[in-house]
Symmetry: C2
Subunit: 344 residues, 2 copies
Amino acid sequence: MEPTKRPKRVTITDVAARAGVSTAAVSKVLRNAYGVSPAMQERVRAAMAELDYRPHAAARGMRGRTYTIGVLLDSLRNTFFADILDGVQQQLRGSDYTVLIGAAGFGAAEQARTVQSMVDRQMDGLILIAPGTSRAEVLATAETLPTVVIGHHDTAAVHDSVVDADDQGAALVVDHLAALGHRRIALLAAPGLKGSQWKLTPEAVLAKGYTAAMKRHGLAPQALAAAYSEEGGYEAGKRLLGAADRPTAIMAGADVAALGVYRAAAELGLDIPGDLSLVGYNDTAIAALAPVQLTSVDQAGTTMGATAARMLLERVEGRRTRAMQTAMTPRLVVRSSTAAPRTG
Amino acid sequence: MEPTKRPKRVTITDVAARAGVSTAAVSKVLRNAYGVSPAMQERVRAAMAELDYRPHAAARGMRGRTYTIGVLLDSLRNTFFADILDGVQQQLRGSDYTVLIGAAGFGAAEQARTVQSMVDRQMDGLILIAPGTSRAEVLATAETLPTVVIGHHDTAAVHDSVVDADDQGAALVVDHLAALGHRRIALLAAPGLKGSQWKLTPEAVLAKGYTAAMKRHGLAPQALAAAYSEEGGYEAGKRLLGAADRPTAIMAGADVAALGVYRAAAELGLDIPGDLSLVGYNDTAIAALAPVQLTSVDQAGTTMGATAARMLLERVEGRRTRAMQTAMTPRLVVRSSTAAPRTG
DNA sequence: CCGACTTTGTAGAACGTTCTCCACGATGGG
DNA sequence: CCCATCGTGGAGAACGTTCTACAAAGTCGG
């Protein structure tokens, strides 16, 4: 049935024979474990080079490490994840670890399935970017292997966390818009995950910060749920901007949603930033594009990714056992999608 | 050293004991192989459900399949890949296969390393999206496991291919621009991969189609190399638009590069489409965004991905042994970045 | 020069599957 | 009835590593 006549792999046994040592010795060299003389080291390494030996990851997975890090994300379309990934890769460059990405979509079930399959493949550690699976499932996973959660502010003794101070980010935006003279500032944030038990999702923290900042300015908060996609932003934008008392400024929890609002505004003949100021979040590459020029909040995605990878390695290699949290400080990037409202 | 006290996994042996059969029998049920009575099927399935058994992928990899498909791509930033991935996932939904993505960056060495690590992990099949590794390396990989190459038009007996008819795509663009009255139409395409032995990269085919179409219209072709990134497009755009005899229309081989040209034009005070018509390629989601509205060429990425996945599965499951090529027909999507040149 | 300890290397049992035989009983043609 | 055939199930050897013992040889203090 299987048509491929695979040429036999070079195994640790071949290397051992070539170097005239035992397989155990080769294994030690491979893992640079204790108990090998420099002389033997060299002989074995030479043999490996000559035979072009490559360790068989699946076989390794049966006993020890697979030297694989799994990253879970929902969709490749959110380019913020590319920033995070860059950081992860950068941190892992030069190490023996390979990063494999699972793009699981937005469904909780699909995400759980993907995480499970990473566990089944004996990955050494996981980075979960704003996972949509239930908190209980994540905790169970983290119990079995080192895990870093990016995004959710809920902490746990069993996994590490890397977050952005989203409440500060929201405050930066509200302050900026209020300073420009806006009074009716609306927020578009992702709907909560039903029954997922996460209390402090990025969007929840963002909303909290937004509400607090609005109150501080003596303004009435107006929040609306919107999926973090172009379509989600469009629909929410249509609703907000079609109403009688429409806001003069809208802040979205993701750049891509902000661009959906842009489309809604364009359809209604509203000029940006003349009739409507628009702010995104994440400062993805799209926000900086020449025709876009969207004011946004920089979350330092690359740094987040690098930090997550560093923390994960500490755990994988057993250099740390206590859980740890890291928070990034956001930064406002003002571009030409925000201005003073027309009716000062 | 390793602090985690992992709760022991449920293995095939546990299931066998529970069902009162041999491990061999359980294995057969698992792979729904020949030689099991419906009665035993059911008993075993019940036992698996009761124990919440999950097959250990690493162990499977030692003998048979891992039920894992690897996808190689260079960067998550190119959202065209998200389209392809959607197609792949969609096709594989419901099957037992998991998709894992390797984002290897643009370096040939890094890409080769990533492909190797996929092979080492005993993946069942690979989808390589416009690989930057040498043709020889890809052929060697394809010799060991089923492989589908997306993008490059070079065919081989050893791997399948899915391509877009890029020459037709180029012709569509040139025809469109020529019909609008443009005479000086420049092409920005990725530089060739040095020493990679690929003769028919997407950009090469695109360039060929462009040149042929220009000649057909009696126009002088003008092609310039540009990396498929915002920065690459910007630099090439600066060069082209700063010259005395600047083109009135520019076609880029990727949307993201077109947006770099956009920035260059904006800096030079050129209006789009008034002073310059701009066309991208791939029709990524970015091109359709309200503030962008870039004319582009739709390559049906989702269909490409689905096709690639389907072809790969045929190979993995041994239903086909002969190599196969599939070509998609491109479609022009006209938006507001193209118009007649000012000086008719 | 003796025991204790360290260093270096090896033997061989796991790990959780798959898969190739092989055994057994039932069937059926001659 | 006997012998081939078929359908169902099991024993047990791989697969390529890691890792726990342990052996052998060397070192050192008394």
